[in-house]
Symmetry: C2
Subunit: 338 residues, 2 copies
């Protein structure tokens, strides 16, 4: 049995999903994977830090909304940086908010963790899209690892599939439906809703935020394309330099007209190797129903790799969700510690 | 640069595809993966053995049909077992014919290689379906590894996806279209052919053999289901003990009737965890077009994993082909040596 001590940054939706998964799958992790996970510390920008070197009680954490509901005897005197440096932990799980312009504060958190000789696992696109090379170098120098499977398609192992399996077969192009909100809206429009109705429904269901531009204008997809370019092709592209067209100009008439020809409008993020380096883009594309990407409905995600030896490989799976993102964190934990 | 010396058993279709891939991707393997592959020896039941410790010339091998066309100065005095034991090689690639009853002669080849401290890579279902535990134990005892990605869906990384990524998320069920020949026949029947016409077309294209029963009666799929059960669930099932119904009783009327309801007949291999152990079967099932498996056309393959945390994950890709199976061998080589 290997005991893994975890420091967590962020006590929001994904954090709660992760704690819940640790509770539900505890026996499975112990008996089938030989791993026992303890969360020794959590820090959140809204609630401060709580710490106990023997581990915090998971069930109480799962039902708590903030740290005031937790035992007042826990040590609470650290800020985030102090927690990263000083808490007894083998790995820092970084789940703070995403900023695709600067990557902060997550970049700083990851740096501090790696410099402290702690592994880092994150589903936060910011630091991976913008500073993966630097973080990878820091990890190497400090003898630790970075896990970031959750940054693209949540727990659907899009990155590990490419890096651990497909790379040696000569991957030349990647295309994907990498944002569930826009795919949900386009599916609703295939069912007859207008763009505005579909967006409102997405907001009602919690898929889209009050300001939906991160999704519908393709910023989120561009961040994922940047990550794919960097991790699979080894080529850094700033998300803001990726050609980007959102879905807000697509009308229900466009979508319905395409359907008549067995075509489906999809927001496709893509990156491919060319003679002049890599070319990346995010834009709506019409796909024929014979393409597996065309048949992805609702908030689903899918990614397609083209390789010299294999032709086309498609992975279909969830792209978001608290349980599904927790799955990515767990995949990375097992990869690092088993 | 790491130099990898390979001993090959089998100089047939897949063997030629592998040699061709080594030629085509030589610069890529050197420059991007830091690996250089030499084939020092090949043995084939029809032609004997050829050996040169500095490596055989790949281009000549690629165009040769047998070993009589190769330089007469190569050492030729070994039988297969002597080659495995004595040839200078780091890994034995086993590509002899498949026997799902006994696994022989491939099991013996794999045993001898592992006992000689050589890694084994194979796309041969026989030894993996029947004797994986024994071979795995031998590999562990001798400090080497077994690669068998090509036994299910050729180079589409169905096994590594499950074992390296999905296992920690709690996989409970696996379903797949694991045989391209039967899927080709069923697709032809959707296009209006009778079963007999579709089978003849499959034979003409080289998908089906003169005696097609291995494919159409589900034996091939059962072998793959046994491998999935053993490698993903850790439960050994003999292929012959798997409930098995082929496609030869399906009529064009059945297929056309299903189509009217947006349903597609598919030969599905499946294995799932239950309270009483694992349950495995191979049988034709009608799937609604909303299921990604329903839309797999022609000789394509696909596999679907159900996991506690992720729900449904689908991998679509090729299931056969010389280039595609060579890709599996290369994935395993890189996994072992990089």
């Amino acid at each position: 049995m290997k005991l893994v001590k975890i420091g967590m940054i962020g006590f929001g939706n994904v954090g709660h999903g992760f704690i819940q998964a640790l509770i539900e799958k505890k026996a499975f992790f112990r008996n089938e994977l030989g791993l026992e996970f303890l969360i020794t510390s959590i820090t959140d920008i809204r609630y401060g830090t709580i710490y106990h070197p023997d581990g915090l009680p998971l069930k109480k954490l799962a039902s708590a909304h903030d740290f005031y509901e937790m035992d007042p005897s826990y040590f609470r005197d650290w800020n985030t940086i102090q927690m990263i440096r000083n808490a007894e932990s083998d790995v820092i799980i970084e789940l703070s908010f995403t900023d695709l312009k600067t990557g902060e504060p997550a970049v700083l958190h990851c740096q501090e963790a790696l410099l402290s000789g702690k592994h880092v696992i994150t589903s936060n696109k910011g630091p991976i899209a913008l500073h993966y090379s630097m973080l990878k170098g820091l990890a190497r120098d400090n003898g630790v690892k970075i896990g970031c499977e959750g940054t693209v398609m949540s727990g659907s192992p899009a990155l590990r599939l490419a890096i651990d399996s497909l790379l040696p077969t000569g991957v030349t192009e990647i295309k994907g439906i990498l944002n569930g909100t826009t795919n949900f809206i386009l599916t609703e429009m295939e069912n007859g809703s207008s763009y505005d109705e579909a967006l409102k429904e997405a907001q009602r269901l919690g898929y889209a935020e009050a300001d939906p531009s991160g999704d519908v204008e393709g910023f989120d997809t561009a961040g994922k394309v940047a990550i794919l370019s960097h991790l699979v092709f080894g080529t850094f592209i700033k998300p803001e330099n990726i050609e980007r067209i959102g879905i807000s100009d697509i009308t229900v008439e466009d979508v319905q007209e395409a359907l008549k020809n067995k075509m489906h409008w999809k927001l496709i993020g893509s990156v491919k190797k060319t003679e002049n380096g890599v070319e990346a883009s995010v834009k709506p594309i019409m796909l024929h129903e014979d393409n597996p990407l065309a048949n992805i409905k609702g908030a689903g995600n899918a990614i397609q790799y083209r390789s010299d030896l294999l032709g086309e490989i498609t992975l279909i799976g969830p792209g978001a969700g608290r349980k599904e993102t927790a799955a990515a964190l767990i995949e990375d934990l097992v990869h690092i510690f088993q």
